[in-house]
Amino acid sequence: MKLKLAFLLATALIAAPHLSVAQEKGGVINVATIGEPPTLDPMVSTADLVGIVTQHIFETLYTFDKGWKVTPLLADSLPQISADGKTYTIKLRTGIKFHDGSDMTSDDVVASLNRWLKLASRGKQVAGFIDKIEAADPATVTISLKQPYAPLVSLLAFNNSAAIIIPSEKQDEPMKEFIGTGPYMLKERKADQYIQLARFTGYKPRSEESSGYGGARHQYLDEIRFVPVPDPNTRVEAAVSGQYDYVDSLPVESFDKVKASTASQPVLLKPFGFPVFVFNTAEGVTKNVAIRKAIRQALSMEDMMAAAFGSKDFYALDGNIYPSNFIWSTDAGVEGAYNVADPEAAATSAKAAGYKGEPIRILTSRQYEFHYKMAQVAAEYLKLAGFTVDLQVVDWATLTQRRTDKGLWDIYISHSPFLPEPALIGSLSTSSPGWWDTPARKASVDAFTSEVDPDKRVALWANVQKAMYDDVPLMKIGDFNAVAAKSTKLEGVDPAPWPYFWNASIKK
């Protein structure tokens, strides 16, 4: 009897936590976003907001798990890669339906990947390496490369400029019908008012446990509504009042206010990304690498991060391009080159480099207030080092256009989330504004992108980072955290750079 009771008790104890975390089905959530996405076709845009919304509608062959490892999504398993690294055989899951009720086959995948190669920025990055894409059978696709290209699977997994799979007969450009395979389907879009997604009843989740963007995608919610709330102060008030279930991208200074509210709690993604100063290496005064190094020598990354993010709760000083929670983290090249903050020595270096007082044109925007604050601090340090500074504050659209003209700027300020695969970093490309194109870049980047062995790639990335510190095409300023807010009733939402709401539910 005692044994029986003990068994029952043990069973109850094992079952109890499981029951307590069981998520309830049903409900609608409202998600406040920073604005209206410029498009709902995630192939044609690299904007984060496009990825955040459309990742619920469309799916890719692969995605990333919570450790940022590539994991299959519409593919059945990771690809079989031939010994020479040039042929990828991709087995597809069967029984996958599009939102229009049709079945996904290899023909849809081939058509979609060809569209991706033609239209998407990241697809075009791959296109030069592709020999052909073929359907071997209705559930198998082979990709043949001209030469090995290791970032291929990561690029196929990324959620912006994304290699989404859409029906072969619905490949229009611009996209007319938004038909994907995702857990939620587009019900209605009223621009600047809401984007309404409804549960797709024909969805077939993966059988593995949920992990990051990978594994099972559960559809607890009936609907997800993305509502643009462009004003950051309004987003803070909306979070405090509890009007929205999730509020994206809050100013860091609102953290305590949200924490004190009863309706919502802050969500801290630590670390989220890094601000970056990109140099014009093609023309003008910063074409001279010695001057770029002198500028870096003058700057205090610590003061810039403090001015931009206030408390150390929201930033960290880190010269490594990737922080320690990524396998790519390395300190190669960092020592003596990060956060030097020595304007006097920088003045000597600049003089030795032949600097003659030409204005350093820093292009920045107040669209992201922290860019502007960092620019102000940088300008003061550079003046101390004897540089003439021309701080050009423009709106974001102007900045994105001006930076494409080699004759208009010397430094532009931007930021990026930590991307799961370093090859996704735009500045590694010679055509990206900044136009970094040196023998050291070519040797290190080519070796990194053509190596398929994951362990060797980690070591090769260290060489790329060292080349970045030696050639100074850009300066990483530090790591910063992102603040969002979620309703106290919302469950199953983990901090993520591109927040997702499959697996989310409402506590009733």
């Binding site: 845009s45 496009v50 735009g426």
Partner: protein, 313 residues
Amino acid sequence: MIRYILQRLAGMIVVMFLVVTIVFVIVRVTPGDPAAVMLGPDATLQDVADLRARLGLDQPIILQYVFYIGQLLRGDLGQSIFLNMPVGSALLERAEPTFFLTIFSLAIASVIALPVGIYAAYRRGSFVDQVATTVAMLAASIPSFWLGLILMQFFAVRFNLFPVSGYGGPGSSLMDRLYHLVLPAIALGLVSSALILRFTRASMLDVLGDDYVRTARAKGLAERHVVLRHALKNALIPILTVLGLTAAVLISGAVVTETVFGLPGVGNLVVSAVLRRDYPVIQGALLVIAAIYVFINFAIDMLYLVVDPRVRY
């Protein structure tokens, strides 16, 4: 009279043509590129160039202008680059919140400003007059977005009486949508009331000293009758002008207030379009807004005929 109306209509066409041309040129020479905005931060120069070509933005500006004028003559405002819909439909979709916001704001402003302005003029120098003019000056100095944030803080966040932002979700009723306009309408109405109050007071002061008012009083008419029938009727012209211009400003989009409250109105549309460089939307919206201004000015001139029989064109 008919000749005057025809002259005005011809003038309106010239104004609209100038607006179309100036806006077209300004939009094209302003830095920024819709293709770069749509493609996002990691797009290459070649991607941007490809998209510009697909959008027809690589054509010489004069060709783009001729094409645009041809489109307008066919009654087509063009297709939004970002919204995936015709500009006309986008404007129509945004008309509802802006229209109701204008009506409510004007109603609030008028209910406050007209009686207080009339009374302040009638009791010139009194305590009420001094308080009214001081408060009006204060209200005129307050930016509507700041007042909006304060109202939001109290009535939406602290007391949870109104939504912080938005214009209702899918399937929301008209009442629900109008409910979202209460705070922004109060913010705009209070700020607009200051200007209307000052004009009303000044205009009434002008007429209250006139001979016919003295005559009316000498005839033994009740003060109420003198002020509201005789004086107010003659003071209405400048008041109507300021009411009309306020309406035009509000209809063309209370840009900041709509942005702060996340209202999908005309002002919000214009701001988003400018930030994204959605050329067809900027051009179409400014054309419609200019048309509204021109029409309201015309309508005010016609109203003068009604309120003042001495006016002849």
